[in-house]
Protein backbone atom coordinates (compact mmCIF):
# COMPACT_ATOMS: atom_id res chain seq x y z
CA UNK A 1 0.00 0.00 0.00
CA UNK A 2 1.25 3.46 -0.79
CA UNK A 3 0.99 4.72 2.76
CA UNK A 4 3.24 1.93 4.06
CA UNK A 5 6.19 3.55 2.42
CA UNK A 6 7.92 6.79 3.27
CA UNK A 7 8.75 9.36 0.67
CA UNK A 8 12.08 7.67 0.04
CA UNK A 9 10.36 4.37 -0.68
CA UNK A 10 11.59 2.75 2.55
CA UNK A 11 9.34 0.52 4.61
CA UNK A 12 7.66 2.26 7.52
CA UNK A 13 9.32 1.40 10.82
CA UNK A 14 7.20 -0.51 13.28
CA UNK A 15 6.20 1.89 16.02
CA UNK A 16 4.60 0.91 19.26
CA UNK A 17 1.23 2.45 19.86
CA UNK A 18 1.82 2.03 23.55
CA UNK A 19 4.96 2.91 25.47
CA UNK A 20 5.74 0.30 28.09
CA UNK A 21 8.84 2.05 29.36
CA UNK A 22 6.76 3.93 31.90
CA UNK A 23 5.91 0.57 33.48
CA UNK A 24 9.52 -0.55 33.85
CA UNK A 25 10.31 -1.55 37.45
CA UNK A 26 6.64 -1.33 38.33
CA UNK A 27 4.35 -4.10 39.40
CA UNK A 28 1.96 -5.01 36.59
CA UNK A 29 -0.77 -7.53 36.03
CA UNK A 30 -0.85 -9.50 32.78
CA UNK A 31 -3.67 -11.59 31.39
CA UNK A 32 -3.04 -14.26 28.78
CA UNK A 33 -5.00 -16.07 26.15
CA UNK A 34 -6.30 -19.24 27.69
CA UNK A 35 -7.23 -17.52 30.95
CA UNK A 36 -3.93 -17.43 32.80
CA UNK A 37 -3.07 -14.38 34.83
CA UNK A 38 0.23 -13.32 36.25
CA UNK A 39 1.66 -10.38 38.08
CA UNK A 40 5.23 -9.22 38.41
CA UNK A 41 7.71 -6.38 38.09
CA UNK A 42 8.31 -5.41 34.46
CA UNK A 43 12.00 -5.66 33.72
CA UNK A 44 11.98 -5.52 29.94
CA UNK A 45 9.94 -5.78 26.79
CA UNK A 46 10.25 -5.64 23.00
CA UNK A 47 8.03 -4.29 20.21
CA UNK A 48 6.43 -7.72 19.79
CA UNK A 49 5.19 -7.40 23.37
CA UNK A 50 7.34 -10.19 24.78
CA UNK A 51 7.81 -9.26 28.44
CA UNK A 52 10.34 -9.99 31.15
CA UNK A 53 8.72 -10.10 34.58
CA UNK A 54 10.53 -10.51 37.87
CA UNK A 55 9.17 -12.04 41.09
CA UNK A 56 6.26 -13.33 39.07
CA UNK A 57 3.17 -14.69 40.75
CA UNK A 58 0.73 -16.74 38.73
CA UNK A 59 -2.89 -16.61 39.80
CA UNK A 60 -4.50 -19.99 39.50
CA UNK A 61 -8.02 -20.54 38.30
CA UNK A 62 -10.61 -22.56 40.09
CA UNK A 63 -10.61 -25.98 38.37
CA UNK A 64 -14.39 -26.18 38.52
CA UNK A 65 -15.13 -22.73 37.19
CA UNK A 66 -12.58 -21.69 34.62
CA UNK A 67 -13.44 -18.04 34.94
CA UNK A 68 -13.26 -17.65 38.67
CA UNK A 69 -9.93 -16.81 40.25
CA UNK A 70 -9.03 -18.49 43.49
CA UNK A 71 -6.75 -17.32 46.22
CA UNK A 72 -4.20 -19.84 45.03
CA UNK A 73 -1.03 -18.45 43.63
CA UNK A 74 2.36 -19.83 42.77
CA UNK A 75 5.70 -18.12 42.65
CA UNK A 76 7.54 -18.29 39.37
CA UNK A 77 10.44 -15.86 39.74
CA UNK A 78 12.05 -14.45 36.59
CA UNK A 79 9.81 -15.16 33.63
CA UNK A 80 9.60 -14.35 29.92
CA UNK A 81 6.02 -13.86 28.72
CA UNK A 82 5.25 -14.45 25.06
CA UNK A 83 3.80 -11.39 23.39
CA UNK A 84 1.61 -13.47 21.11
CA UNK A 85 -0.26 -14.73 24.13
CA UNK A 86 -0.65 -11.48 26.08
CA UNK A 87 -4.12 -9.95 25.95
CA UNK A 88 -4.03 -7.34 28.69
CA UNK A 89 -1.45 -5.41 30.67
CA UNK A 90 -2.35 -3.10 33.51
CA UNK A 91 -0.76 -1.75 36.67
CA UNK A 92 -1.22 -4.02 39.66
CA UNK A 93 -3.12 -1.46 41.65
CA UNK A 94 -5.15 -0.33 38.68
CA UNK A 95 -7.93 -2.85 39.00
CA UNK A 96 -10.19 -4.44 41.56
CA UNK A 97 -12.83 -7.14 41.54
CA UNK A 98 -16.44 -5.92 41.79
CA UNK A 99 -19.74 -7.76 42.10
CA UNK A 100 -21.27 -8.76 38.80
CA UNK A 101 -23.01 -5.66 37.41
CA UNK A 102 -24.90 -7.59 34.80
CA UNK A 103 -27.09 -9.64 37.07
CA UNK A 104 -30.72 -8.53 36.76
CA UNK A 105 -32.31 -7.62 40.07
CA UNK A 106 -35.39 -9.75 40.72
CA UNK A 107 -38.42 -7.76 41.85
CA UNK A 108 -40.25 -9.74 44.61
Amino acid sequence: MAQDRNKDGEKKKKESIFDLSKYIDKQIRVKFQGGREASGVLKGFDPLLNLVLDSTIEYLRDPDDQFKLTEDTRQLGLVVCRGTSVVLICPQDGMEAIPNPFIQQQDG
Binding site: F32, L76, V80, R82
Partner: protein, 91 residues
Protein backbone atom coordinates in the same frame (compact mmCIF):
# COMPACT_ATOMS: atom_id res chain seq x y z
CA UNK B 1 15.94 8.98 15.52
CA UNK B 2 12.45 9.79 16.71
CA UNK B 3 10.81 7.06 14.65
CA UNK B 4 12.42 4.12 16.46
CA UNK B 5 10.85 2.95 19.73
CA UNK B 6 13.03 4.40 22.46
CA UNK B 7 13.71 1.34 24.60
CA UNK B 8 15.90 1.91 27.57
CA UNK B 9 19.24 0.16 26.83
CA UNK B 10 19.72 -0.92 30.43
CA UNK B 11 16.55 -3.03 30.45
CA UNK B 12 16.46 -6.74 29.85
CA UNK B 13 15.27 -7.91 26.43
CA UNK B 14 13.07 -11.01 26.60
CA UNK B 15 14.79 -12.90 23.82
CA UNK B 16 18.17 -12.15 25.36
CA UNK B 17 17.07 -13.85 28.51
CA UNK B 18 15.94 -16.92 26.59
CA UNK B 19 19.24 -16.88 24.71
CA UNK B 20 21.18 -16.94 27.97
CA UNK B 21 19.21 -19.97 28.96
CA UNK B 22 20.41 -22.10 26.04
CA UNK B 23 22.08 -25.22 27.41
CA UNK B 24 20.40 -25.01 30.76
CA UNK B 25 17.13 -26.03 32.25
CA UNK B 26 13.95 -24.25 31.32
CA UNK B 27 10.32 -24.63 32.27
CA UNK B 28 7.72 -23.71 29.67
CA UNK B 29 4.10 -22.98 30.44
CA UNK B 30 1.61 -23.39 27.59
CA UNK B 31 -1.68 -21.59 27.05
CA UNK B 32 -3.61 -24.64 28.17
CA UNK B 33 -2.83 -26.65 31.29
CA UNK B 34 0.37 -28.17 30.02
CA UNK B 35 3.91 -27.50 31.15
CA UNK B 36 7.22 -28.78 29.90
CA UNK B 37 10.54 -28.97 31.69
CA UNK B 38 13.86 -29.73 30.10
CA UNK B 39 17.09 -28.48 28.63
CA UNK B 40 16.84 -25.74 26.05
CA UNK B 41 18.79 -26.48 22.88
CA UNK B 42 17.75 -23.50 20.84
CA UNK B 43 14.97 -21.33 19.50
CA UNK B 44 14.06 -19.37 16.40
CA UNK B 45 12.40 -16.07 15.57
CA UNK B 46 8.95 -17.40 16.31
CA UNK B 47 10.24 -18.95 19.54
CA UNK B 48 9.68 -22.50 18.37
CA UNK B 49 11.85 -24.32 20.80
CA UNK B 50 14.19 -27.27 20.49
CA UNK B 51 14.28 -29.14 23.75
CA UNK B 52 16.01 -32.15 25.14
CA UNK B 53 15.49 -34.65 27.96
CA UNK B 54 12.23 -33.42 29.18
CA UNK B 55 9.11 -34.10 31.09
CA UNK B 56 5.76 -33.03 29.79
CA UNK B 57 3.36 -32.42 32.62
CA UNK B 58 -0.32 -32.18 31.80
CA UNK B 59 -2.27 -30.72 34.67
CA UNK B 60 -5.80 -31.95 35.07
CA UNK B 61 -8.29 -31.22 37.85
CA UNK B 62 -8.02 -34.80 39.07
CA UNK B 63 -4.23 -34.79 39.08
CA UNK B 64 -1.49 -34.72 36.55
CA UNK B 65 -0.04 -36.88 33.87
CA UNK B 66 3.72 -36.89 33.48
CA UNK B 67 5.22 -38.05 30.20
CA UNK B 68 8.92 -38.42 29.63
CA UNK B 69 10.04 -37.32 26.18
CA UNK B 70 13.36 -37.23 24.42
CA UNK B 71 14.27 -34.45 22.05
CA UNK B 72 11.36 -32.37 20.82
CA UNK B 73 10.61 -29.38 18.67
CA UNK B 74 7.98 -27.36 20.41
CA UNK B 75 5.80 -25.07 18.34
CA UNK B 76 5.96 -21.53 19.70
CA UNK B 77 2.29 -20.85 18.96
CA UNK B 78 1.05 -22.10 22.31
CA UNK B 79 3.81 -20.90 24.58
CA UNK B 80 2.69 -18.47 27.27
CA UNK B 81 5.62 -18.26 29.67
CA UNK B 82 9.25 -19.33 29.71
CA UNK B 83 10.92 -19.75 33.08
CA UNK B 84 14.70 -20.18 33.00
CA UNK B 85 15.98 -22.68 35.53
CA UNK B 86 12.43 -23.68 36.41
CA UNK B 87 11.75 -26.72 38.53
CA UNK B 88 8.35 -27.40 37.07
CA UNK B 89 5.14 -27.73 39.06
CA UNK B 90 6.17 -29.43 42.33
CA UNK B 91 7.53 -32.63 40.88
Amino acid sequence: MAATPATNPSQLLPLELVDKCIGSRIHIVMKNDKEIVGTLLGFDDFVSILRNLLLSVSLFPQGRRITKLDQILLNGNNITMLIPGGEGPEV
